[in-house]
Subunit: 240 residues, 2 copies
Amino acid sequence: MISIVPVEGLPEIREGDDLAALIAERAELQDGDVLVVAQKVVSKSEGRVVRLADVEPSEEARRLAAGEDPRRLEVILRESKRIVRSRPPLVIAETRHGFVCASAGVDSSNAPEAGTVVLLPDDPDASAAGLRKRLQELTRVEVGVIVSDSFGRAWRQGTTDVAIGVSGIRPLLDLQGESDPTGYELHATVIAVADELAAAAELVLGKTSGIPAAVIRGIDVRGEGTARDIVIPAERDLFR
Amino acid sequence: MISIVPVEGLPEIREGDDLAALIAERAELQDGDVLVVAQKVVSKSEGRVVRLADVEPSEEARRLAAGEDPRRLEVILRESKRIVRSRPPLVIAETRHGFVCASAGVDSSNAPEAGTVVLLPDDPDASAAGLRKRLQELTRVEVGVIVSDSFGRAWRQGTTDVAIGVSGIRPLLDLQGESDPTGYELHATVIAVADELAAAAELVLGKTSGIPAAVIRGIDVRGEGTARDIVIPAERDLFR
């Protein structure tokens, strides 16, 4: 059995907060647990917040804004390595990390105050590793950590949460060469376990309930890896 | 808390098996639970299995096969409404149901015998509804049912399980107009809950462990809908 337990009662997170300590006080962590933390609170604790009043929009940002706030589009362009698709004001971009998502991960919902937007962490794997190390210091417990975000998908409506940063877990489970019960080889069967863990955690997070973290217990995914392992390399990507 | 409990001890499923009865004998179902069943066993119980010896490949199937079995490609073409991308022998297709996935869902792993392939159910929502109705008859318990399959994604490595058929649940959670804790409107925030439930269940299914079903408890997703609600309508699809 796998259990997914929300971490309840966290205060509004601000820059400089010791997020790991706030979580450790509210969660009963055990060795081997996976802690999933929503990107939004990780970014806020790291000060990845931009005041739109400080942003001067470019021509391209004005063009893409289509009547919405061009300063928001300017922030999105700054976070983007490449625009994958756009239907102004909707922009799907490849972030500097290599993730393809709406608005390059720039989000104005749940922002700390009106007139601000929250960016993805600069290095979400490092964010996950920092949380993991700090939790180990505070609790002596070894957990895996996933920083999650809600991404849209091609062809399918709605978002599902995915892993944008990981530490202490193997993000992909590669069954190539393992045999299924009838003895046939499984071809090209790689499961994005980190993304499935993020999606499972989202079921208790909820955008409106103010619960930004959850503990998953009962699955052994200990190992090494980075969330960038989940990004398809450009040369194998059929959808660039 | 949400729990995900595997349904263990199911026999190899064959055409005509009463899948709901086999599951009911092995799962402690309660009102409001969500039962996730892997497409493969649903398809097998419905006889959605093709013997390759009976298939005559077309010219196009031979071209796409690139040295692999052209009869398998022929079956894929028959299940496809449209080829979205191909890099022979890899084909990403839109199925007759509207799902975009590798090989139009045609799978040779976990097939009942060598030389056969398993197709998606003809109508996965109807499959889910049939299981739900039969479970209600057998157990007097009202559960939601999801038929799941492992789909690849654009830009991200590995598969995650998604819902291809649903009954008794609302597949999308629409937060539009709800307010987040700081009082801002959430724009265009629709969560693909059915896909997240399928992904969560996959964590206990496992391709090699012979566990094709799981029970999720602790989340209320009762409602109506079809898995086709999750498919982006053509006119809004930026990735056709």
